[in-house]
Point group: C2
Chain length 480, copies 2
């Protein structure tokens, strides 16, 4: 199954990065067929007895953990009929593919029609999973990405955040209003941005003999651990989005490239969860990428590929990287306003899956919540509003909380690193990024799925998820 999923991953990357329009229908059918084959394997009649027998064996820790992960996957797969799996795969491929042209065309009606089909199938999946594991409908879907996490816990954490975040944003904005920040002036040719991206990835330790950087409409980190496929997108009027996006995806990539190589093919060699995965991308993009010491390392690369500019002077560059400004686009958001984007999506997607709202309610809710959380008017602007992300069209309901959980974990990792290495900030500024990478490799990357999330987090940082580190990080970076 590991080997067949390899082909599925590469075909999925190709679909987003290379495939011409007329190839989509055949690709969607091919990937749905493979989803069906994999589902058949996961639901093979012989597995239940084999898993039960394995449970009685004397197993070492790794084997016991493998069995735990196999049972989790077996249980989730057996709750779903093959027809649903294939229908979902098809609906997702079609919705995602059409979104690529519908988004620039502001075609909400067209997108909504496809999305309704995806939501229908996701609700059915939630119903079947929840009936099996006793979770709520939404929690049953979120469990696919963040096993063990519940919306009660998310509500607790996000509820706290919702209280202090708007005030913090205002405080930071008031403070930054007094600063003068020079903006780099374009255009910035794509080829120069691509070369910059490659150099930044090298600086961050990406192994180009085991991966690539390409382009797609929505950036992502795909492929397989042995061959990681990053994508980004370029706008010639600005290089910052592509650069910070590439830094983000490189964090995902290094997690994948450094999973326990000798165990690949076993369940414990998988990344732990999507929250943990985002904790890596955000360790790279936010903790490290917006660090004043990191700006020093970026400067020569910017000079080499983009040119000389007073805007690239370290202090100004740091200001650019830590500029807090409510905006339309989640993936372009700074680390202070980012959680607001996630809270909005979490509230909408949970209501959608729980059946409290319908697809047609999304635009109005989006507008209301954007105004409430960030004071931004998105009415009529589908492209930069509720059609900006393809997650829902791709059936990723329950994924969004992982971004902010990831930001919180990332803050917790860096607090832990600073306890171990009081000179961490000087090390970063001096270019010794291995101080960070070695810690992440030892505590996260090389651990794969040996431990369940709370245990992994406790081993890495001495305690389970503690959102106080995230607040402390933002206050120290933006208000100190």
């Amino acid at each position: 199954m590991h080997r067949l999923a390899h082909l599925q991953s590469i075909a999925g990357w190709d679909q987003a990065a290379n495939m011409p329009a007329k190839g989509n229908e055949a690709r969607a059918l091919a990937m749905a067929e493979m989803d069906g084959v994999l589902h058949q394997m996961r639901t093979d009649a012989s597995l239940q007895a084999l898993l039960a027998a394995a449970e009685q064996e004397s197993l070492d820790d790794d084997a016991r953990a493998n069995l735990r992960e196999m049972k989790r996957e077996w249980r989730a797969s057996n709750a779903l009929p093959q027809a649903l799996v294939e229908a979902k795969s098809l609906a997702i491929s079609r919705c995602e593919h059409a979104w690529r042209t519908q988004r620039p065309a502001q075609d909400w009606a067209g997108y909504a029609a496809n999305l309704r089909e995806v939501v229908k199938l996701q609700r059915e999946e939630a119903r079947l999973l929840a009936a099996d594991n006793g979770l709520s409908l939404y929690d049953a879907l979120m469990d696919r990405y963040e096993p063990g996490m519940t919306s009660a816990e998310v509500d607790r954490v996000f509820g706290d955040l919702r209280q202090w975040l708007p005030g913090l944003i205002q405080q930071v904005q008031a403070r930054q209003a007094q600063q003068t920040t020079l903006q780099p002036v374009g255009p910035f040719p794509k080829a120069a941005q691509r070369a910059l991206g490659h150099d930044v990835m090298s600086l961050l330790g990406f192994d180009f003999e085991a991966g690539r950087l390409d382009e797609s409409a929505h950036p992502f980190c795909g492929g397989v651990p042995e061959d990681v496929r990053l994508t980004t997108r370029y706008r010639e009027d600005s290089f910052m989005q592509s650069m910070t996006g590439t830094i983000h995806e490189t964090g995902h990539a290094r997690y994948e490239q450094n999973l326990p190589r000798e165990l690949l093919g076993q369940p414990i060699a998988h990344s732990r969860s999507m929250g943990l995965h985002e904790s890596q991308s955000l360790s790279f993009e936010m903790q490290l990428g917006c660090h004043p010491g990191f700006a020093k390392l970026l400067l020569p690369l910017l000079n080499k590929h983009i040119g000389e500019s007073p805007a690239f002077e370290v202090e100004n560059l740091t200001r650019l990287l830590t500029r807090v400004a409510p905006g339309y686009i989640r993936v372009d958001a700074d680390e202070v306003t980012y959680p607001a984007h996630v809270i909005l999506r979490y509230e909408i997607e949970r209501a959608l899956i729980e059946g409290e709202i319908e697809v047609d309610d999304i635009p109005a809710l989006w507008d209301t919540k954007m105004m409430e959380l960030l004071g931004i008017d998105t009415r009529g602007n589908f492209k930069d509003g509720c059609m900006q992300d393809v997650h829902w069209g791709a059936g990723l309901f329950g994924y969004f909380p992982c971004y902010t959980l990831g930001a919180m974990y990332a803050a917790q990792w860096f607090a832990s690193m600073r306890r171990d290495m009081p000179d961490l900030d000087q090390r970063i500024a001096s270019g010794d990024l291995n101080a960070v990478f070695d810690w992440l490799k030892a505590n996260i990357w090389s651990q794969g799925s040996r431990f369940e999330t709370p245990e992994l987090v406790r081993r890495a940082s001495g305690e389970t998820l503690n959102p106080a580190y995230f607040r402390a990080h933002l206050e120290s970076r933006y208000l100190a």
Copy 2:
């Protein structure tokens, strides 16, 4: 199976066009696993009875032809054990991947070690197939690419060719020695060549919404009919190889893009054979691409992308395109010397499969035959000698004759077209290439595998394979 093979095709293209070095081992394992899954499906125990029952049904012509093709595939698959199929897939992936670096390094010893493993498995495959269908060892392998063709027939056709070809090459060379031909002077930047390739493909009717042009170490036409993936390779000191190579692969591509779309997924929607496939690539590359009328159509594209040059003047360009000169490299050969390259490979690969020679004998045989057929000394030059093609490493024993059979079919098609359209040459010169494309589409592309090869050829051209057309074509183009 059609859908799963889609993923295999895309992953195979990616392996050649994109994959970084460290990805190969995992990719090889993934593709071998899929070959195993497909083999299991083809050898499912229920199929024999189902095929026998279908035989008794009253079927229309298409269904009857589908059944014929299914039985052919069933029989060939059932002659081979799954372990052999997977071992072959793995050995091929490894050999092909290593060849990419071994060839430039002239590492014959390294390549030979991998090739011995492939040959061992190919001989075993030949033995099992021959035991089942009663053909000779080599014919059993050739039957995979050119069903129904035998080495007795190839010997007859190639024997005739071997008699008159060396004399013809000398005659043409003597004649061309009196001509002055201007050579275009480089360097020719890759980006300009790529843009030229795109425009030439458009001129030839390639549908870019259903395919792409990329780069690989060995040019090929891969992907799926709905999404055809061409590759080429660029050298900055010459644009002709890449351009003519792209024209060649575009011929393959248009065959694939124009297979009967409504039947895709059925066996009769497949291209008929590899000889027929090469007859399309060579109709494009040789019949059309070296046609003096076609040079007129290339001129504005060359001016646009490469620049102005007296070498591009139509008469000189035609001379460049029809220059006959014995050379090392098969894929760069002109249409007169090309068959010599094929005869050489056919003689070596047949002896290898029949067990008359071993892998270690290849270099010496290669040198002898190159000297004999083309008067060229390749001793010690593995890169431009027996390591230039990856066919053997890729397990494609029995494929090479298809190139020259294809050249003969292509000459037969154009002779038939000229009977139907006496003004064909003027039409080509005036840019009415649809005269050619419509004929190929009606007679070859849209026919898929409805008919066996001799019947398809007879319906298209009024008779079965007649090599006299090829000789007449060469004499008329090069000696008239």
